[in-house]
Amino acid sequence: MPPGDLAIWFFIFAELLAFGIFFVAYAFARAHNVELFNESQQHLNIASGAINTLVLITSSYFVVRAVAAIRQNLARECARWIAAAIGMGGVFLVIKVIEFHAKFSAGISLSTNTFYMFYLSLTIFHFMHVILGMVILAAVMLKARSGGYSGENHAGVETGASYWHMVDMVWIILFPLVYVIH
């Protein structure tokens, strides 16, 4: 059995499938319109994308530490690591909002061109997953803080952790695919 609740894995796989389809669609849409994609890609802020990758990877690491802590029955420490991960998620959102703000005030929308359609769809879709992941982590954190998990019984922590890693994984592909590769 994978870590955490089996149900979350159905949804992790469903989410990976949906993102996978969008990634492949992006690649084939680009193949039909290489110049447009390369030109539009130049206007993306690679630094903010890279910093966000670092932020998400770090938050994933914090979640790993939280799981390690609860396995040693350290509920308080677990809650603190999760809080740190949620904090990093918040940093991700702030950076992303700044990036979106720059794009929107430049008059870019889903209908600007196919590249921006994909860029905005993928990043906003992912953005909403980050929010959902933070909500799940927050629920896990509250339960951990009130002593709801122990060294023997911590499937909930692993469930939240698995979902959060999935959000991280998607971004790890999204960043090079949309921001870097041309």
Binding site: F13, A50, I57, V64, M169, F175, V180
Partner: protein, 93 residues
């Protein structure tokens, strides 16, 4: 899954984390340098594949479960990366 030796588990996770950060910086450097072409593309995509595999194996802990779960994630990863590669190469003149 609780048979893992804890301090070792934490230490290896830390090493994985640092490796992921390092690989991200390489990708970033390539991006800022505006390097292109199919060789660079394969390298950047390959890096992403390795990073996802590291997260799935070490962070998610799929390394210690049945091959099925690991296989689904790996299969998804290779399929997506493969199709993306085909799409990119099909555009190279």
């Amino acid at each position: 899954m609780d048979t893992v030796h804890r301090p070792h588990f934490i230490r290896s996770s830390t090493i994985v984390w640092l490796a992921l950060m390092f690989l991200t910086l390489i990708t970033y450097a390539i991006g800022e340098a505006k390097l292109g072409g199919w060789g660079v593309m394969l390298m950047v995509l390959g890096t992403a594949v390795i990073k996802v595999q590291m997260v799935s194996d070490h962070f998610m802990g799929l390394r210690r479960t049945r091959w099925l779960w690991r296989g689904i994630v790996l299969g998804w990863l290779l399929l997506v990366a493969g199709l993306v590669t085909i799409a990119y190469l099909s555009a190279v003149k």
